[in-house]
Amino acid sequence: MSMRTPLKFLAAASLTLSAGLAMAFQPSGKVDCIAPADPGGGWDFTCRSVGKVLEDLDLAPGSVQTINMAGAGGGVAYAHTVSKRSDDDQLLVAASTATTTRLAQGQFPGMSADDVNWIGAVGADYGVIAVAKDSRYQDLPALMDALKKNPKAVKFAGGSANGGWDHLKVLIAANKAGVDNLPKIPYLSYNNGGEAMTQVVGGHVDAFTGDISEAQGFMESGDLRILAVLADQRLPGKFSDIPTAKEQGIDAIGANWRGFYMPGKISDDAKQYWVDAVDTLYKSDEWKDVMKKNGLMPFHPGQGQFEQYVKTQIDDIQALSKEIGLIK
């Protein structure tokens, strides 16, 4: 046994070396995917579904194991990645706009976006602004005009914390529409989008800010009127009737992307391997099928552009958070 293991290791090492001529990095054995939340949420879904497709496409040699590591809205997993596994090249961590929001607002103390490698996005959920069916607001400009006259005129309900992504979407739209007094706009934070929506449908709060996937149920039942989707262009399929904010003259984009980062000290070759792997996955029919079934919309900055996208997003959120006085 004691003889055989090093032999095997040597054999594996030489194999890797010879393979290295063709491809610089090949993962071997198990790949870990950390979902920085409890089972059932978006990050958990990202890890599990991507893990499965990576296995099916043979982009990961062994199994991709999802590990749930909840805490601090992803901060515990971020700290774990930065401090304990900084050179682990077989570790993916699920991330989304919630991660960049917290990084931008300094909620992961002592850590920044430069501490990890941003690998790629596999889709997005787009922001919506909606009202109850009997609301007096028929389109987004009407709602924004009311805010311009009195920033307290419309109260928003959303599923994120104050200053979180749902709140920021309102501010992004209001900012682009030319509303002055952003910090004055009332935002009511609920435990999740569903709870926030009942309050809007029940007539207790004026407007809902959330993601299109959350609003689908009440939209289909006719209880909720979606004023605008915060996307570049109209969404495909059954969402194609919903106007974008852009076509209503308010150039606001709110994409809640889903993707991955990896530890910061992995080799360039390993990083390139995984960037390519996510690229291949995104283009595969298997993944398109997953997206369709789960209401995930197209979103995938091309090769090498994701890192830049993340940094720009962080800068934008930082500027906005400063403007509303959330950070100094």
């Binding site: 409890d38 089972p39 059932g40 949420g41 590990i67 749930n68 590591m69 909840a70 805490g71 601090a72 809205g73 901060g75 515990v76 700290a79 607002q105 909620q107 992961f108 103390p109 307290k152 109260k155 914390a161 104050n162 200053g163 979180g164 009332p186 009511l188 934070s189 609920y190 435990n191 999740n192 569903g194 709870e195 009942t198 309050q199 449908v201 029940g202 007539g203 207790h204 709060v205 149920g217 959330l326």
Partner: protein, 504 residues
């Protein structure tokens, strides 16, 4: 007829082979847990939650298993009451009164069988009530705005005294402790950190599940270690069962009344199973008048509290599922589990998670049949378990708790917290401070705070919004009644309970 369709779909979910298997497993484990003295349904569910996570169960499967555990624990509670005169859990206390005398008269098997039948009837009645009433209550819930929710949660706090009752000051103290723990973490309404001391693990506050497992299960271990419980306790031999139809017919009316009373007290948040079994017993005693031999081994004296507490346990699911307000300690635990599965209990559950809700309701019905079938022949097996020395049993329980909690978030910090909660739970028990209000404080505190602030935001700081709708005024009235009445009625009830608890 929507209800019927949903229920049929629910049966489809609950009868799926793997769900049925977990229901059976839950029913069995629940009965075992219920039979272990002191390890009540709340503890049982809390201990098995990590198991659900470890096995990576889907939400509906996990919930089905845990509801079966819940129902099973209510069945199991009676076993040690009857055989050892030690209630397996709080609500089984009243079963001791006639169950133990029956066992001493050599009718232990009959007592166990009769109580199983009564438990079945009680649960069945309450589950039917749940099916009929729950959707009605769910439709009503859209009318709840921030002000109404605030009044509702105040109501839940006001009736808290009914749960443990003995010493109101200690109950308030316990609830205040829970409220204090609940303030830790990032405040959602402002994004400000409270009491996190820069520790990342505290950003999202203290996890209910860690607190529950620590407070109940780990402290249980500590108490057991101290008492070396179960050593050399005398066991009563279980005779061969000779149950006649006449015996069952005799307890039927009692069981029906008990089930209805149990359901009603279960639906009221804060009343719970102990109250259900107590009222059922005392009322039955009065109805039967001079015809009863309650306290001397009357089979109806076993049937009444058992149908009452099982009715209440199903009834308590009504406010939990429709409003997100737990009616008992165990539903508080179940509620925490739902939240950790990212399911919001409340009106939306019936539309957004219809498969989960109706699967659970169907599982409750199926679970009751399973439990009846399990309980009568397996009485002997359950009795054997009572003779397993705690020195073997408890390390296993503790191991399950540690592995389970670690598997939720892979954070050793959670284990430190669990142990800390265990020690705190031990101290609280020594001081006779009830543990359930601590959990309720943790669960309801953030809701009270959030809804008050929302109400203020909606009204631009006008306090009158809190009592501006008929619904909120009604809730305030009930809350005030719930706060004031126990002070008047409580001592009277307690005196009767004491009188009832001395059979000779």
């Amino acid at each position: 007829m929507d209800t019927l369709n949903y229920l049929i779909d629910g049966f489809g979910v609950a009868l799926a082979p793997h769900n049925l298997m977990f229901a059976l497993m839950g029913a069995f484990l629940g009965t075992l847990i219920g039979a272990l003295p002191g390890l009540g349904p709340a503890n049982g569910v809390a201990i098995l939650i990590p198991l659900a996570f470890t096995l990576g169960l889907r939400p509906e499967t996990a919930l089905i298993m845990l509801t079966a555990v819940y129902a099973g624990a209510m069945y199991g509670g009676r076993i040690s009451s009857i055989l050892l005169n030690i209630p397996g859990d709080e609500p089984a206390m009243m079963t001791c009164l006639d169950g133990y005398p029956m066992a001493r008269q050599g009718r232990a098997a009959e007592a166990l069988a009769i109580s199983a039948v009564a438990s079945f009837i009680g649960s069945l009645i309450a589950t039917v009530g749940l099916i009929l009433l729950a959707p009605l209550l769910a439709r009503f819930a859209l009318t709840f705005g921030a002000a109404e929710y605030f009044a509702l949660f105040v109501l839940a706090f006001a009736t808290l005294g009914g749960i443990t009752g003995k010493n109101p000051v200690k109950t308030i103290l316990a609830a205040a402790l829970g409220l204090m723990i609940a303030t830790v973490g990032i405040d959602l309404s402002t994004g400000v950190q409270r009491f996190t001391f820069g520790t990342l693990e505290l950003y999202e506050g203290v996890d209910f599940i860690i607190a529950i497992v620590g407070l109940f299960a780990v402290s249980e271990l500590l108490v057991f270690i101290e008492e070396k419980a179960g050593a050399g306790r005398e066991m009563i031999k279980v005779n061969k069962l000779s149950l006649k139809w006449k015996d069952i017919r005799e307890i039927l009316p009692t069981s029906f009344r008990g089930g209805v009373i149990g359901f009603i007290s279960g639906v009221l948040p804060g009343a719970g199973a102990s109250l259900g079994s107590f009222i059922s017993y005392t009322l039955e005693k009065r109805i039967l008048g001079s015809k009863n031999r309650f306290g001397e081994g009357d089979s109806r004296g076993v049937a009444a509290p058992e149908s009452g507490n099982n009715g209440a346990s199903s009834g308590a699911l009504v406010p939990m599922l429709t409003l997100g307000v737990p009616g008992s300690g165990t539903t508080a635990v179940l509620l925490a589990m739902l939240i950790s599965f990212n399911i919001t209990p409340g009106p939306l559950m019936f539309t957004q998670n219809a498969d989960v809700v109706w699967g659970v309701i169907a599982a409750l019905l199926i679970g009751n049949f399973l439990l009846l079938v399990l309980n009568i022949p397996l009485v002997g097996v359950f009795v054997k378990l009572l003779s397993v020395p705690p020195m073997y049993l408890l390390p296993m329980v503790t191991m399950v708790a540690f592995v389970g909690i670690y598997s939720i978030s892979h954070s050793p910090v959670d284990l430190y917290f669990m142990v800390a909660f265990g020690v705190a739970g031990y101290v609280l028990r020594k001081l006779e401070i009830p543990l359930v209000p601590v959990i309720l404080g943790m669960l309801l505190g953030p809701e009270v705070e959030k809804n008050l602030r929302h109400a203020m935001q909606i009204s631009d700081g006008d306090w009158t919004i809190l009592w501006s709708s008929p619904l909120s005024i009604t809730l305030w009235a009930i809350a005030i009644a719930g706060l004031v009445l126990p002070v008047i009625v409580g001592p009277i009830l307690r005196r009767r309970m004491k009188a009832g608890a001395q059979p000779d």
